[in-house]
């Protein structure tokens, strides 16, 4: 079935509710089993560089200032000033108010500029406000928009509302890539996460993203596994490749590598690419740098050898 923008609410509901269920015990066992993969030496080195290139280096605080954002941008361009072979990160992710500053700081670097929009993180604002938020961010220089869905509408069963909002935001994005944050920690079940993933993809998302980082449960391996299965199945049905972005709570190299293993053994190497997979994280980057230095020099350097964000 193809759901078009003109399809009725009942079509969308019957499609989403017709998706195969997700067995909680099974999906968590599978994720836990993949987490035991042992990634060493040369494969670890490759994984670390890939993970660095997949980081959306993020600051989403009320206390963000132009100075803080410029510092983060400098770090994004050159995460390890001591090692020129260290790749830049994928993107910077900031609030709309900080986009202009970030755009200047990133000019010519190739690092993407993502902005959360649509009344992040709750999404509880009128559509017009969300669209204005989005347009402002794009106009200020963001080439990626991380929107939040209305979890309230989703949980109330008003899938059409969520679908239409995504379509509208996608349109407001213009040429910018749209990442749709499902806020999986508020959806309650893996069935809902699978449904929300499909809803977002059908409505035109370029990426589906787990979390805002602002609720109790953010990215987890089993949640990401369910979303990877969704993008895999969507690709088979519709031919379009949708990216996945776990965000929040991924802090260590070990964690990041577990996600790469998950991609490798679920959707394959087409998603082992910063255009298809991102880590929404901040403290992760320094751990990646520390492990990278450990692999090249053979010993750990102290935290003062890695820059503050």
């Amino acid at each position: 079935m193809t759901v078009t923008a003109s399809a009725g609410l009942s079509d969308l509901r019957s499609f989403l509710h017709g998706l195969p269920g997700v067995d909680k015990v099974g999906v968590e066992a599978r994720a836990a089993a993949l987490a035991t993969r042992s990634i060493k030496t040369s494969s670890k080195a490759k994984a670390i560089d890939l993970a660095i290139r997949m980081v959306d280096l993020t600051t989403l605080e009320g206390a963000d200032t132009p100075g803080k954002v410029r510092a983060l941008c400098a770090k994004a361009r050159r995460p390890d000033p001591a090692d020129a072979s260290c790749p830049p990160v994928a993107a910077i992710c900031v609030y709309p108010a900080m986009v202009k500053v970030a755009a200047e700081a990133l000019a010519g670097s190739g690092v993407h500029l993502a902005s959360v929009a649509t009344a992040f993180p709750s999404g509880q604002a009128p559509l017009e406000v969300k669209l204005a938020d989005t347009r402002d961010a794009v106009a200020a220089g963001a080439d990626e928009i991380d929107m939040v869905i209305s979890r309230g509408a989703f949980l109330a069963g008003d899938y059409r509302h969520v679908f239409d909002e995504i379509v509208a935001v996608k349109e407001a994005c213009g040429g910018a890539h749209l990442k749709v944050i499902l806020e999986t920690g508020e959806l309650g079940t893996y069935d809902n996460i699978r449904r929300a993933s499909w809803l977002a993809m059908l409505a035109g998302a370029d990426f589906i993203k787990t979390s805002t980082g602002k609720v109790a449960v953010n990215a987890t391996l089993p949640i990401t596994l369910v979303m990877l299965e969704a993008v895999r199945d969507f690709r088979e049905r519709h031919g379009r490749i949708i990216g996945v972005k776990p965000a929040g709570g991924i802090k260590t190299t070990k964690d990041a590598i577990k996600y790469l293993v998950l991609i490798n053994e679920t959707v394959g190497d087409e998603w082992l690419d910063p255009d298809r997979f991102r880590f929404g994280a901040s403290s992760l980057l320094n751990d990646l740098l520390m492990q990278r230095t450990k692999l090249t020099t053979g010993h750990y350097a102290g935290p003062d050898y890695f820059t503050l964000d």
């Binding site: 997700v22 035991t36 040369s42 494969s43 490759k46």
Partner: protein, 474 residues
């Protein structure tokens, strides 16, 4: 592609002696007639050690030692016996890395499984039955149940240490003493366990380990002073044992073969069902008596499910059992490999369609690629006979009634699996399946608290749980 660099577990964590004697009355000594067997690493065909072959005189000595020990052991208060079992369980946990490596070396199973499945379950079994030792009066077998005497136990090669635990833990908890014979291709973890018993200061003679092949097992089960025989292995050998024990008054439990149906309904959680199918048949190279070796899939989703299954199988990693990323290790022996090849060739000759993922296999050792047969019917031999290898027969059904009828249409009845999101269907179908264990939306899950055993030619008696005590109490 994201290639994983080799991540081998170190084999130097465990010491393997060049030769092993028999463990009788708390001491190791050579067999009386000096015969030996070699045990090899099935992944490389390297000889790991020479083991003594116990003859009739050795069995006499072992049973006599167990009989002597029975008097004091059975007279100990349950709480005292429990202390020994708790101690054994803790030592197994402490030495689990050594034991996991040893098990993978001798058996060929991936270290991931010996480390994450076998060893934790082994320790859990000893902990579980340790807990029963002082509560036997409340187990439902009368106010003062008594042990039987000497238990003669013969175990298979697929889960050497786990099967040892299933046999020894309830026997000791109930006050029996034990003469155990491990399989001739996988004796090393049992001999290591003998050392664990010494470390736990278990009184001499309570546990005796005798090694050897079929003849040794026959001497043991036929020994007149053995009160109880427990066997896990093939249905063929089980029949012989049942014949030889008949009329002797010995108690007998048999845990034999299987040809389990793994039933996938059209409303199943597909991705998890695929994992369950893979785990059901490829876990431990399919050397599992309760393996889900017959996939019964509802015809309306068969094509979609098989596509997913094949995609998943392509990611299975076959190779060095000691590599931490290996999913499928070596076939345990040349004889077993020949049996798997023979039945697979018969499957192809009978017209079933054979498929394996692209899968380079090592040059040395015993290997078989994960394989599925589609287009299999009840009339095919690969749908009826136990292959005991990584070979799945795929059949289809149209209605729940047909699924149940096909699932039950086998001489075996050890286990079954049901995959559906509909709880009422799980209960309705499970009720009609003639199998000792029925898993719902999972497969090959084990727990010491859960009884395990078969219907029909899969054997009789139950091991595990409260039920597992019954076989060792009068």
């Amino acid at each position: 592609m994201f290639e994983y660099a080799p991540a081998p577990e170190s084999r130097s964590v465990v010491d393997i002696a060049g030769s092993y004697g028999l463990f009788i009355d708390g001491e190791f000594d050579g067999g009386k007639d000096g015969n030996v067997l070699k045990t090899v690493n099935p992944a490389t065909e390297e000889v790991l050690a020479e083991i003594s072959v116990a003859g009739p005189e050795d069995i006499d000595r072992a049973v006599a030692a167990a009989r002597r020990a029975f008097g004091t052991w059975s007279a100990l208060p349950g709480a005292e016996r429990a202390k020994y079992l708790f101690r054994i369980a803790r030592i197994i946990q402490e030495r689990s890395r050594e034991l996991a490596v040893l098990e993978s070396l001798d058996n060929g199973k991936p270290i991931r499984e010996s480390r994450d499945v076998d060893l934790p379950l082994v320790a859990a079994h000893f902990f579980y039955y340790a807990g029963w030792a002082d509560k036997l009066a409340y187990a439902g077998f009368g106010p003062d149940p008594k042990p039987l005497g000497v238990a003669g136990q013969v175990i298979p090669w697929n889960f050497p240490l786990l099967m040892l635990a299933w046999k020894i833990a309830p026997a000791l908890a109930t006050g029996n003493t034990v003469v155990l014979k491990p399989a001739e291709t996988t004796p090393l973890s049992a001999l290591f366990f003998a050392d664990v018993c010494r470390q736990a200061e278990l009184p001499p003679g309570v546990v005796n380990i005798v090694t050897g092949a079929g003849d040794t097992g026959a001497y043991l089960v036929e020994h007149p002073d053995v009160s109880k025989v427990a066997f896990t292995g093939s249905t063929e050998v089980g029949r012989e044992i049942a014949r030889s024990v008949a009329g002797t008054g010995k108690r007998l439990t048999l845990e034999l073969g299987g040809k389990a149906a793994n039933i996938v309904f059209d409303d199943a959680p597909i991705d998890q069902a695929v994992e369950g199918i893979v785990n059901g048949i490829f876990f431990n190279q399919g050397h599992v008596c309760c393996a889900g070796s017959r996939l019964l899939v509802q015809e309306s989703i068969a094509e979609e499910l098989l596509t997913s299954l094949k995609r998943r199988m392509a990611t299975l990693r076959v190779g060095d059992p000691l590599d931490k990323n290996t999913d499928i290790g070596a076939i345990n022996s040349a004889a077993q490999l020949a049996r798997i090849k023979e039945l697979s060739d018969i499957g192809a000759a009978e017209g079933a369609e054979r498929w394996s993922p692209e899968c380079p296999l090592p040059d040395r050792g015993f290997w078989f690629a994960p394989t599925i047969f589609t287009g299999v019917t009840q009339a095919h031999r690969i749908a009826r006979e136990e292959i005991f290898g990584p070979v799945l027969s795929v059949l289809t059904f149209r209605t729940p009634d047909e699924a149940v009828a096909k699932a039950n249409n086998t001489p075996y009845g050890l286990s079954a699996g049901i995959w559906t999101e509909k709880g009422s269907r799980i209960l309705a179908v499970a009720d009609k399946l003639r199998a000792g264990v029925v898993w719902a939306n999972t497969f090959n899950k084990f727990d010491p608290a859960s009884p395990f055993g078969g219907y029909k030619e899969s054997g009789y008696g139950r091991e595990g749980g409260r039920h597992g005590l019954e076989a060792y109490l009068a």
